[in-house]
Structures are given as C-alpha cells and as structure tokens.
C-alpha cells in the first residue's frame, strides 16, 4: 500500500485542526510498520484515513491518495470499500470493550465477517471461527464461542478482536494501540500472536502505538510522527541505534528503563503543539535544542540519511 501526501483536517469551531498534514509512506508485503508518536501526533487519524473511517464531519480527507493494488481507496465507491474492509484490509482498535457488541456472542461476532465476505454457510463459518479462536489462543473455544463479551477478560477480548479481524485472511491488518490497555504479561502474549501471524500468513501490519517498548518487540520499520507530520522513518535498528531527528532523541531519552536508575530524568521541554494554524516552519521548532533560523522559515523536507532512513530536519539537508 502506498500513502501519498495524505492530509486529513478537522473543521471545528475553534479552527481547522491539521491532524494529518502531508504524510507519505509505503507499507510492504509481510512487514510490520509501526506508526509511533505521542497524543495528537496524527497516527490514529492516519490509520482511520486509510479505510476512510474518519468522522465526517468534522473530519475530512482534503488531499492525498491511498494506493492499494492500483486503486486509490480515497476515490473508491462505498460498495467497493465495504468489499475491502474486514476482508482485504482489517482493523482492530484500542479498546476491545467498545469494539465488541455486548448483545451478541463472541462467536457470532467472529463469524460475522466470514459469513458476510466469504459467503460461507453457518456450519463452515462456525468451524472457521473455532479454528481462528484456537489460533489466537482462546482456550475452551467451543464453549467460549457462546460467551458474551462481558464474560471475557481484557486479554481474551483482544484475542477475539484479532480472530474477527483475521477471519477473512486479510492482506493488511491495521492495529491501533491494540495492547495499550492490557496488563504487562498479557501485552507480551498478544504481541507474540501478532509476530506469529505475520510470519505464518505473510500479512502486513500497520501497528500504531505510543509505546516504544512494544515497537522494539515487533517492528520491522518505524515511522515517528509529530504534529501531524513524519519526523523520522527507518528500519527498527535505524531508529533505535542511530536516531537522527531531535524529537526522536528526546523521545528515546525520556524513557524510564529497568536497567538504569537516574537521579533526574531527561524530558523534552515545552508542550505538544496545537494543530490549529500550525507555524510556517518546522513544527518541532519551539521545543528543539538544535534549531536554526531556517527551521522557523520553511517546513523541512524529508532528507535521506542512508538506505531507507530519512529525517525531516534541516540538520540533514
């Protein structure tokens, strides 16, 4: 999948929030690409834009293209999108609690996309759902199919969501903070499932998270987002071993680690900017310790560091 100059804005009473402001990247077959950033960086808006799930109003995709098998999804008909969503491109969201319908059994919800897209009869759909539940590690699957979401724990609910998302064997899975709400030990288990699936099904995963620990465990490539734009992108080793953008430095430096106890933690001075009427130049300018006059004048382009490693920073022009 190729995303080109995507721009998604939210038109509010207070002004136009430029949530995604010119974002381009590609998602390759069988890779896990992580979109990383803090609140308001635009990572979720980007993911929702791909499947045109952005609330309109107040949101609107004002520019850009999402190329998938030669087709621009942003120009596809509603019918075509429905054929693709849940079938070729699936999505799971942060809070499984709010994504699962409380009045239907978990089994029914996993079977729903199977029956809808694969047009299987009830019995074959049920069998496929059972096999998926076992694949994601839900014990006593036959019995638990009849359970309602409230009878499942957080980790189990997320596994059920993953099973539902995988049910039609999608090419791409978009996962928005799928492990954030889960306990430490469960987080690790769910990530193992993702890793396993990626390998077995050669599936591409667009994984959105703010947690760099999670990223280190699953990403092949990483895109660091800030203020609705890409700050830096590269392989997982590029970003962790050789980070180049001052924001990435800040982010990596302020993480608490078990191996190290510090007298004082490093943090990034200032606050995350408002995306209404963003300034002319680099959006990280007010908080950057390496800023130069040019940074305030014009927005930086994406400059190559090496291979596929790029940074949107004048330090590398």
């Amino acid at each position: 999948m190729q995303i080109n100059e995507l721009k998604t804005y939210f038109f509010t009473r207070l002004g136009v929030v430029k949530a995604v402001d010119g974002v381009s990247f590609e998602l390759r077959k069988g890779e896990c690409l992580c979109l990383v950033g803090e609140s308001g960086c635009g990572k979720t808006a980007t993911a929702l834009s791909v499947l045109r799930l952005v609330d309109s109003p107040p949101g609107r995709i004002v520019d850009g293209a999402v190329m998938y098998h030669g087709e621009d999804l942003l120009k596809s008909t509603a019918t075509r999108l429905r054929q693709i969503r849940g079938n070729r491109i699936a999505m799971i969201f942060q809070d499984p609690q709010s994504s699962l319908n409380p009045v239907f059994t978990v089994g029914d919800q996993i079977m729903e996309p199977i029956r809808l897209h694969l047009k299987l009869g009830k019995q074959p759909a049920r069998e496929r759902a059972l096999s998926l539940m076992k694949q994601v590690g839900i014990p006593q699957a036959e019995e638990r199919m009849k359970y309602y979401p409230h009878q499942f724990s957080g980790g189990m609910k997320q596994r059920a969501m993953i099973a539902a998302a995988l049910s039609c064997g999608p090419e791409i899975l978009i996962a928005d903070e799928p492990t954030t709400a889960l306990d430490t030990t469960i987080k690790a288990q769910i990530l193992d499932i993702f890793r396993d699936l990626k390998q077995k099904m050669n599936m591409s995963i667009l994984f959105i998270t703010h947690d760099l620990g999670t990223v280190a465990g699953i990403a092949d490539r990483i895109i660091v987002m800030y203020g609705g734009r890409i700050a830096e992108a590269g392989s997982v080793l590029d970003i962790f071993d050789r980070p180049k953008h001052p924001y990435t430095w800040g982010l990596l430096n302020c993480l608490p680690t078990i191996s190290e106890h510090r007298e004082k933690m490093t943090s990034i001075p200032g606050v995350i900017p408002s995306l209404i009427d963003p300034p002319q130049g680099c959006i990280f300018y007010p908080r950057c310790g390496w800023r130069m006059p040019v940074c305030q004048e014009q927005r930086p382009g994406e400059y190559a560091i090496s291979g596929e490693h790029i940074a949107a920073c004048y330090l590398y022009k």
Partner: protein, 322 residues
C-alpha cells in the same frame, strides 16, 4: 534505624457480592487479602501488580477512603484503623492522595486555585490572603504559572492537570502521599517531567510515597523498595535493586521477563504464564498463584505460603523458599 511512618498488619478489604431479589450476600471479592508491610519516613515504596491484584483498593483503604474489612493500619505508632471521622480529619493533613485520572479528580466547576486551596479551607488554615499566597507558591512549585489559578480544568492539558493534582496534595504539607498510577495516562515526555517533579518534591519535603503503578520501569525509577501484588496479596517485597537483579517469586520473574524493553537487541527469553488471572471472588486454594506457576509443587495446591524474610530487605511468599 528505620522510622516507620505507616504500617499495616493483616489488612483485608472484601467487597460483598449479592445475588437475588433480596440481595443476599453470597460471596466476597477478596480484593485485599491480608497484607502486611510498612512505609518508612521519606521513602518511596512502589506497589506493582496487574489488573485485579488489589493495589488501588489497598491505596484507598490505607487512607481510609474505604473502610478495611479487618486488620490494622498504624500511623506513626498509632492504630488508626478505628479512628473517628474527626480524628481522621486531622490525619488527612499528613496523608494525601494523587489520583490516576487527572480529568475526573478535578471538579470541572471549580477554578484551579479553588481546587488547590480547598484543603486549606477545610482545615481552617490561614487567612484568605495567606491561602492565596500558598496557592501561588504551590503553582510555581509544580511548574505552573500563578495565572493558572483562575483557569478551569478543561483549559489545561493532561500533564498540567496532573501537576494540579500534585499541588493540591501538597497544600497541607503532608508527610505521606499515596500516588495511584499518577503517570499512566500521560504521554512519555510528560511522564518524565512529572516523575522529575515527584522525585524533586520528595527530596525537598522529605515526603514518603506509596507509588502504585503497573509499569515496572516507572516504578523502578522512583522506588527504593518495591512490593509485588497478585490477587490481593503481596508475593514479594524487596529493595529495588534486589528485586530487579534477583527476583525470587515465580510471578515476579514472569512479570520482569514480560516487560517490553525499548531495545530491539534484547534477546527475549520470556516466561509465558499459562491461563488467566483467577477471579478474586473464588481464588484458588493454597497459593493463589499455583494455577499458573511454572514451578508449582504439590504443597502449593494445599497450603498458602507464609511470607518469609530471605535477606535483610527481601521478603517472599513462596514454598520454594520454605
């Protein structure tokens, strides 16, 4: 000689479960099930555990925001378990709380200044002018502007709201602060700022903290000692270094191995715990952890292990160390 500020003995908090039209008491959610520990003056005791382990309930019961079911709470040598409301009011000047969600712990209809000064008003501290001065002083102390006093919560960011929560807790010069997940809802860069604030305040005011969190890296950053909870009980308690270097309890070992380090080079040899956490309504007999323990023995299924002192500062409740 360690000066104990707060101590608990066999503290329990059960929430009754009722059923039927007549609301018969049929069972109990054993949220806190006999917990004994102490917090020394000026130290930070970290309390870590996953959902349902009882850490938040424990935090609230310690300050008697909820009443304990049984056991004792001792503050500076006084048994405060059954203290009256009047007596507790005086104690509240010494022991305060910071909550996880800065959004819901601030009254949206009160200005920031009023929220911070409310405790001073309740305790009848100073004149109005003196209270105003104190609020200004506190705002600056937590890294905000005096001008913030006239704003409302909705005008502030998550990090700023959390700073207000801290300012409010500091208003009465407490000796102990129970911080329940104070940074979980914050972005990483903001989290670092707030943790620095918490650590600086400790040095400046010799504060003791009970720092409750699920993130081991955060707990490790601020705590001198750490208690690990599972299903209502403390399974291990040790100094920070001892816990990370030599975790004894199988649950602690699994928890540490599950932590996702922001380092792609880490060889991950994860201890995977089978199954799920059992319900605190019907915890397993014997050791609560036996259903998922990779080193379970016959005795674990029958007998609950007692907490044993392994080293000077290291306690563990596990039959492996009997």
């Amino acid at each position: 000689m360690v000066r104990k500020l707060l101590e608990t003995e066999g503290l329990k908090k059960y929430y009754p479960v009722t059923a039927g039209l007549l609301a018969r008491h049929v069972a109990d959610v054993k949220a806190v099930d006999s917990v004994s520990f102490f917090i020394a003056e000026g130290e930070t005791l970290g309390l870590v555990g996953e959902s349902g382990c009882g850490k938040s309930s424990l935090g609230r019961v310690l300050l008697r925001l909820e009443e304990p079911t049984s056991g004792r709470i001792i503050y500076r040598g006084n048994d405060i378990t059954s203290w009256s409301k009047h007596q507790m009011k005086a104690l509240r000047r010494e022991a305060q709380m910071i909550f996880q969600d800065p959004q819901s712990s601030l009254d949206p209809r009160m200005t920031i200044g009023d929220s911070i000064g409310e405790a001073l008003l309740i305790h009848g501290t100073g004149t109005e002018k003196e209270r105003l001065e104190r609020v200004t002083e506190l705002l600056q102390r937590v890294g905000l502007e005096p001008g913030h006093a006239t704003r409302y919560p909705h005008e502030l960011s998550g990090g700023q709201k959390q700073r207000i929560g801290i300012a409010r807790a500091l208003a009465v010069n407490p000796k102990l602060i129970v911080a329940d997940e104070p940074v979980s809802a914050l972005d990483v860069s903001v989290q670092a700022q707030i943790l620095n604030l918490i650590m600086n305040l400790q040095r400046e005011f010799s504060l003791a903290y009970l720092f409750i969190a699920h993130d081991l890296a955060v707990i490790g950053q601020v705590s001198s000692r750490i208690a690990v909870m599972y299903l209502g009980q403390i399974v291990e308690l040790a100094s920070r270094d001892d816990l990370f270097r030599q975790p004894l309890h199988p649950y602690t070992q699994a928890l540490l191995s599950a932590v996702l380090l922001p380092d792609p080079h880490q060889p991950r040899k994860r201890i995977l715990l089978p199954g799920e956490v059992p319900s605190p309504i019907d915890p397993p007999p014997g050791c609560r952890f036996h259903t998922r323990c990779p080193r379970v023995m016959a005795i674990c299924r029958r007998e609950m292990p007692k907490s044993r002192q392994i080293d000077e500062n290291h306690l563990v409740a596990c039959h492996l160390y009997d």
